[in-house]
């Protein structure tokens, strides 16, 4: 960790030098304010947090990203809340479609998050909650589609591709080893022609 943070520090210094922002804490990158509006680059150097502290702050702040919008209905019991999130991550938000209800801020996703939590509070199992939503919205609501005949190709394609590939390799290898090693024997006529060429050169007529 120490060496890592030192490396970060070195990096940060290099960046600052490259961007020509000598003063620490200056505006960097896109949207940089025009010089007049920029903070006066006085000689006073602001105390700069060390990169490791910044990294720590980032790590501590990460869970904030996992929360969407209104969190007032979160369950008080952390284990129950964790279960609710587990379920929510399996359910598709039908409005935005490529997000789970846990990640979406659509009002329908919010309602479904609430329903999931209410049912968990009532002591229903994960399966029962999932069934409740599945009964209403069908397979489409499940981010992990169930294995059925209609979804056979969807699930089996990777296995089929690997099996096919292995089969192709196996067949090629077997064919290669089945081929006789070395060259076939020359016939008597070929041997005589070869001897003639070896004695007189490639083109005897010239």
């Amino acid at each position: 960790m120490r060496t890592f943070s030192r490396a970060l520090e070195r990096r940060a210094r290099a960046w600052r030098a490259r961007l020509g922002q000598g003063a620490p804490g200056g505006v960097v990158g896109r949207g940089a304010a025009p010089a007049s509006r920029r903070k006066p680059a006085s000689g006073v150097t602001r105390a700069q947090p060390s990169p490791s502290a910044l990294l720590l702050a980032l790590v501590v702040a990460l869970p904030a990203l996992a929360q969407v919008g209104d969190t007032s209905y979160r369950l008080r019991d952390p284990a129950q809340e964790e279960r609710a999130r587990e379920i929510g991550r399996e359910l598709r938000c039908l409005v935005c479609q490529n997000q789970s209800i846990e990640d979406s801020d659509a009002s329908l996703a919010r309602d479904l998050r609430k329903i999931v939590r209410e049912q968990i509070e009532q002591g229903r199992s994960n399966e029962e909650v999932m069934r409740f939503v599945h009964d209403r919205y069908g397979d489409f609501v499940l981010l992990r589609p169930p294995f059925r005949w209609s979804t056979f190709l969807l699930w089996a394609t990777p296995a089929l591709a690997i099996t096919g590939g292995l089969l192709a390799i196996f067949v090629t290898l077997r064919r290669r080893t089945a081929a006789p090693a070395g060259l076939p024997e020359l016939t008597e006529a070929e041997r005589q022609r070869l001897a003639a060429i070896a004695n007189k050169g490639p083109n005897p007529s010239r």
Binding site: L108, D111, Y137
Partner: protein, 196 residues
């Protein structure tokens, strides 16, 4: 004799040429069908198929909106009518609902019972909408929390369901009932279910 050096027999060579060609043709035809379906609306990769089709609607009781003067709506009202009915989920804040409103009015004029569920709306706004655009509904339930709509599998407004004589859901359309959908889906379905 080495197999690798042997020339490929003509029958197999033909297969090697035609097999990829056939696969490409099959893929092309499939793709064409998909594109055609996208164009006429019969194939929608983002469409959510209703889990309710082929089943009776869930049990529910919704309060009415007094200012509209319309009776409230409950699942019992959809049963035993011995004729196909239309259930429409809408809201005054929903712009596509304005687009589909003339079609609902037309259904109402044809004598098809149209039932409304007002989704996450203010009673005053809903009433103003009906005053302005006309009222096609025989009954109207207010689903302000949106829970009954979730029980139906509604994921946005407008959504329209057609129930047969026995009260089984036969059809669901997510999105506005445009004149085209009316002509291609709703009217033929109602005819086949023996409406009017």
């Amino acid at each position: 004799m080495s197999d690798a050096a042997a020339p490929v027999p003509p029958s197999r060579r033909k297969l090697l040429i035609y097999a990829p060609l056939a696969a490409a043709t099959a893929a092309g035809v499939g793709f064409w069908y998909m594109l055609r379906g996208l164009q006429d609306g019969s194939f929608n990769p983002r469409g959510v198929p209703s889990a309710l089709v082929g089943r009776p609607p869930p049990d529910f009781t919704l309060p009415g909106i007094e200012s509209t003067g319309l009776p409230a709506l409950a699942s019992a009202d959809l049963r035993g009518l011995n004729r196909p009915v239309v259930v429409n989920f809408w809201a005054s804040w929903c712009v596509p609902c304005i687009i589909e409103h003339p079609q609902l009015m037309a259904l109402h004029r044809q004598g098809v019972p149209v039932f409304g569920v007002n989704y996450k709306d203010r009673p005053g706004d809903a009433q103003a909408f009906l005053t302005r655009h006309g009222n096609p509904f025989q009954r109207l339930g207010a689903d302000e929390p949106g829970r009954v709509s979730i029980d139906w599998g509604v994921y946005g407004v407008p959504e329209t369901y057609v129930l047969d004589r026995q009260g089984i859901v036969r059809y669901r359309w997510a999105g506005p009932i445009t004149p085209e959908i009316m002509r291609s889906d709703v009217e033929p379905l109602l005819r086949s279910l023996g409406a009017g």
